[in-house]
Every structure is written in C-alpha cells, then in structure tokens.
C-alpha cells in the first residue's frame, strides 16, 4: 500500500497508475464496493452521453456554447467519487461530470446550458460552486471555503478543479499559496487535458509537470494518470483524508486528454495533430475500466447496454422536462443584482417592463401571434 504514505503524494515524475491500458492492475486497487465500481462506470457513461446530448442540442439552437467532456470521464468521476456530501467542489465548465457525481442533477445543467439562471434544481446540498468562466478564479474561492470550514471547526474539505491553462493565472498560484500558508483542508486539482483551447500544454509551463508546482508552495504534488479512474479515485481519497486530518493541502495533476473540441464554437482541426487523436483513442477511460469490470464479472455487455439505455432515457426526460418549463420573464434579470432591489433598480425594472409592454403592443398591432 505504497500510495497510502505521504511519499506517494510527492510523485512528480511518472503518473501514478492502477490500471494499465488493458485494464490490468499494475498497483493495488483501492477498496471500493462492487456496486460503487459499477456506479463509477455509469457516471463515466453519463458524463459522456450528457456531453454528446448538449452538443446535439447546441447544434439545434437549443443550448448555448458548450465545452464537451469527452476523454476526461475518468478524471471527472475519480475526482468527485471519494468526496463526502459536506465537502465542497468548485470547478470550471469542464467539470460537469464531477458535479453530477457530487449530486447536481443533469437537468440543473441543462437549464443553465439553455442560457437561463440556475434554479432550485441546482441543489445547494451538493456543495458545488456554480461554474466559473473566468479561468482559475474558483481556486481561490475553494481555498477560502476550506479556510472557512477550518475556522468553523467542521470536518468538511474543499476541492478545487481547473485546467492546465488555468495553472498560468495568478489566481491559481495565489490559491496554492494561501492553501499552503493557512494549511487549508483543500485538494487542488489540475486536469491537464493537453490544451487550453488551441494552446498546447507546453506553452503553459516550462516545468515537466504541473504537480511540480506544489513544492514551491510547501505542499505535496502528485501526478496521476487521469484516464485511470481507480488511480484518480485513490489519489483523491488520500489527498482528501490528508486534508480532513488537518495535514494540509495537496496538489494533484491528472493527465488526460480533451478528445473533442474546446467548445461547440471551436474547430480543433486547425491545431490538433492527428497522432494525438490516435494515441489517446487507445487510452479511452471507459474502455479501460469496462475491461476491468468485465474481467471481474461486475458487469457484462448486456448489463452495460441496459445502463446506457437507462442513461439515455434519463437525459432525454431531463431535457423534455426542462424545455416544458415556463421560462423566467425578461425582467427576472433584476433579481440577481442584490437581495433587495434599490430604488434605482426598481425604476429601471419599470423601464424594462415598459419596453416589454411596447413590444407586446407592437405584436398585437401587427396582428402576429
């Protein structure tokens, strides 16, 4: 059980692996109940199928810009699966999979991705910070949350997740530094998927790994194979345990690959080398984990088919339910500035309502509708 030691949390040279490409054990597997293992596989499928669905909706004008999740499912699930309900999670738009594992319903995302404000479906009990668009800023929020939980004396920890590109922002480094100085119960994760839109990983840092950043901020840095869900799970479990025990933060780098476009607005053929696509195809995280589960008879082909069909139904229902919902009125935008509208904003809301009425009037006059 080499991994259980702190030493292991300092590997910065070679990514830690539990399953090789054939799904064979190369290190000790963590102790996970069989149902949980199958659940992890299902979450990976959910992540991929959800992503494909939103991309399809976006093409039909039924969703806004979306960043596909494909290729990163093992990191997504491995990061979130070991966390407790009270633990906080804060990531970027790419962490939809992790958030679903943590308890946010697919429909909550569908609603948001349709371009509307989050609603109560986005369960606060899941302790997931709404996604961050301004790259890396959430890392500081997560460290602040971890500091708060420590001040409050709770046993919750906080996990921040960002991309390789995000590691270049000042806020990422300040987050590592605050976490180190205040020994915050936090785990900070870089999901290194090789790209920040079109900018390759090598342009983000001259260091061989992002995990190596840890030492300069007084914390261990761990490099893990991000397409090996068991390796990510085990690393996160140990880092979380370390944080929970009051031993401070850990930096984790998951090496994975974004096999799709950056977002629905991106054309990766302009910059992704062909070889990459081939190389990473062989490293598909679902294929690897399926082999592991099949080998152990925890799942079989028909079981997986059923699983996939179930997910498809679940997602479709969520889309239908959300699209059937009455949408917020245009002037709902005034609900999110302050808890109570200021007199000025009351007047401005009136101004908008006047326009809404004018448009309605025009419509009636034109006899349309």
């Amino acid at each position: 059980m080499e991994l259980a030691t702190l030493n292991n949390l300092e590997r910065t040279d070679k990514p830690y692996q539990i399953l090789d490409l054939e799904g064979q054990l190369v290190s000790d597997a963590p102790t996970i109940a069989p149902t949980q293992l199958v659940a992890m596989h299902r979450w990976m499928w959910l992540t991929r199928m959800f992503s494909d669905k939103i991309v399809a909706l976006q093409r039909q004008g039924r969703a806004t810009t979306f960043g596909p999740l494909n290729g990163q499912e093992a990191s997504a699930v491995g990061i979130a699966a070991p966390l407790l309900t009270q633990d906080w999670l804060g990531g970027s738009y790419r962490e939809v999979g992790s958030y679903m594992v943590k308890g946010i319903a697919p429909r909550a995302f569908i609603h948001g991705l349709r371009g509307y404000p989050l609603n109560e479906l986005y369960s606060p009990e899941a302790h997931c910070l709404p996604f961050q668009i301004v790259i890396a800023t959430q890392m500081l929020h997560i460290v602040g949350i971890a500091m708060a939980e420590k001040i409050k004396g709770s046993d919750a920890i906080a996990v921040g997740v960002c991309g390789d590109g995000a590691s270049s922002e000042g806020d990422f480094n300040e987050a590592l530094n605050f976490a180190g100085v205040f020994k915050a119960p936090a785990v900070l994760v870089v999901v290194n998927n090789g790209w920040a839109i079109s900018v390759p990983r090598r342009l983000q840092s001259a260091a061989p790994t992002f995990a190596a950043r840890g030492v300069g901020f007084g914390m261990p840095g761990v490099l893990v194979d991000g397409n090996d869900v068991l390796a990510v799970y085990k690393t996160m479990s140990e880092a979380a345990a370390r944080a929970r025990a009051g031993d401070g933060p850990t930096l984790v780098e998951c090496i994975t690959y974004r096999t799709g476009a950056h977002t629905t607005a991106d054309d990766p053929t302009r910059y992704v080398p062909r070889e990459d696509v081939e190389y990473w195809k062989e490293r598909d995280p679902l294929v690897r984990f399926r082999r592991y589960l099949f080998d152990r008879q925890l799942l079989d082909e028909s079981g997986e088919k059923e699983m996939v069909a179930g997910i498809e139904a679940e997602i479709n229902e969520a889309v239908q339910a959300d699209e059937a919902e009455t949408l917020p009125a245009a002037d709902a935008v005034f609900d999110y500035a302050f808890q109570e509208l200021t007199p000025r904003l009351e007047r401005q809301r009136g101004e908008m309502r006047r326009e809404i009425e004018a448009i309605e009037q025009q419509r009636l006059e034109r006899g349309t509708h």
Partner: protein, 341 residues
Amino acid sequence: MSIATAINQEATLATAPKLTMIEAINSALRLEMERDERVVMFGEDIGSNGGVFRVTDGLQTRFGPKRVFDTPLAESGIIGTAVGMAVAGLRPIPEIQFAGFSYVAFNQLASQAAHIRLRSGGLYACPMVVRAPYGGGVKTPEMHSESVEGLFMQTPGLKIVIPSSPYDAKGLLAAAVADPDPVIFLENIKMYRSFKQPVPTERYVLPLGQAAVIQEGTDLSVFAYGAMVKVAQDAAKSVHTQTGASIEIIDLRSIVPLDEETIVASVTKTGRAVVVHEAPRMGGLGAELVAIINENCLYSLLKPVLRVTGYDIPYPHAFLEDLYLPTPTRVAQAILDTLED
C-alpha cells in the same frame, strides 16, 4: 447623520466619548465581531501591527488569530478567499491596504464578489465588507491616493459606502456588515485622524442609501462625500460670507445605492448645483449626478451644474497633488460661477 437619527441619538451623544474616525471604525469592528461569530477579518498587516493606520488595533489580541489574521501579500487572494468564506457562511471583512491596490483584486471584486448571486441564480450570496483607505492630500507614493468609487459603480453587484465623519463611519459600517451583499467601504485617509466627534459606545446602524443634509440652504446645492464634505463646507462658508448666499450641502454617504430622492429634491428647490469629488471627472460620480439632475429637474435648473473634481490625468506626484484635488478656493469659485445670473 440624518435629522431623525440626530434626535434619537441626542441624549446618547451628550455623554459619548469623542473618537477619531479610526477609533470609531475600530469600535464598530469590535462590536460586529462580538455580536456575530461569523465575522472574520484579514488582510496585510492587520494583525499584530493593527493595520498600517491602526484601524484594527487590538482586535487580534481580543478575538484571536483565528478570526483576525494577516495574509500573504496578494490582494486577489485576499478577496478571492473572502468570496469563498462568504459563500461558506462566514461574514468576512477583508482589508485592502490602500484602495488603489484593489486594481490587483479587480476581477475578484467585479466579476466574482459582484456575480455570486447572479451566477448561482440566487442560491448563494456574497455578504462581505471590503474595507479600504482611499483619498489624497497626505503626500503618499503612487497608487496610495486613488478614489475608486467611479470604477465600482460601473460594475454592478457591489455597494459602495464612503463615510465623512467618525459617527457616520461607525453606523454605516454596522449596516455594511449586516448587508446581504458585498459592500466596498472606503475610508478617507486624510480624515482618519483629522477630527474627533462624540460617538456612542454601543452599536447603532445608519442605513445605506441615505444621504445626509449637512446644512440646509435655498440658493444652491453642493454634493460631496468623504473628505470633500469639509472642503464643500469651507467653500460654502466663504461664499456665504462674501455674498450671503444660502447654500445647501449634501453628504451622499453611499454611492451605491445612491439617494437620488434627496438629490433631486434639493436641486428642485435650489435650481443650482455643484458636485465635488477627488476622483477623475470623466465618468465619475459627478457625471452621474449631473445626469440624474438633468433627467429629473432640468426645468428647475437655472445654471449648468459644475463639477469640481480631480482632473483626467493620473494621480500626480506627492508635491504636486495640492491643486489636483478640489480646494475650497476652487469649489468656492464654482459656487460663485453657478450663483451668477
């Protein structure tokens, strides 16, 4: 202080100790920390040093380093972690050592603290008070004198409060801490120790968004806040002596929310107005005030509203700042110009 409050507080004030603005703010912070366990304070040099202006003097000793602590030198880190703490249920009061350094934390303030409610569809809020000394006239190095209210009024989601007296500072700070949304609380450096005023020992709250009529008048309205209130008073006195004009002075106290009713009522009555602030003129609060007056009392307006402000240049070097800042002379001249028929 509003007239109603003044009456209520009259008795208390008679026996209240006289405090500087620094002491009044210290007292407010102490009371907030005593009554609400969720209040925590942090920033650069606020712990054992008690802040570079001693505003937080004694608070770390009183409440312990868990609730009052120094941070690494990183303003984005200070505000960014404060945002997280607020979301997690604390009531952080981060300090930015000088308001000009809020530029380093600009994103965490303007796109994060200000957007938590928006981004979460109202599921989360970000109640926090960012304290920061601001203002010129004390010969500081670069970026120590900047007035930043003009910036943050362009990034909605933040409240902005600027007291002009020890009494107001204490009451407004209590309101800011109780507010469910992020508040930027700007403390004028030059006023920190410039005068003392009776300030009740116990907690009291002055609601945000209410301007104070410092002096009633019928011929012209002067709008100011922070250190410019005193400058306006001095100018008004000299003009009054010279011309006998009756000048109304209004201390805005809170920039967001802005007490537009009081502004409009005053100009509707006087028909003439001058607005004074330290910040650059272009797009400053003065511009907004003129726009509000234009929209609501154009037909009462006898003369153009004049803006006496910092000029549209970078804040100058220490020994050249005196005439950059509005002086009583310049404000008096503007008042005289505006009084002319």
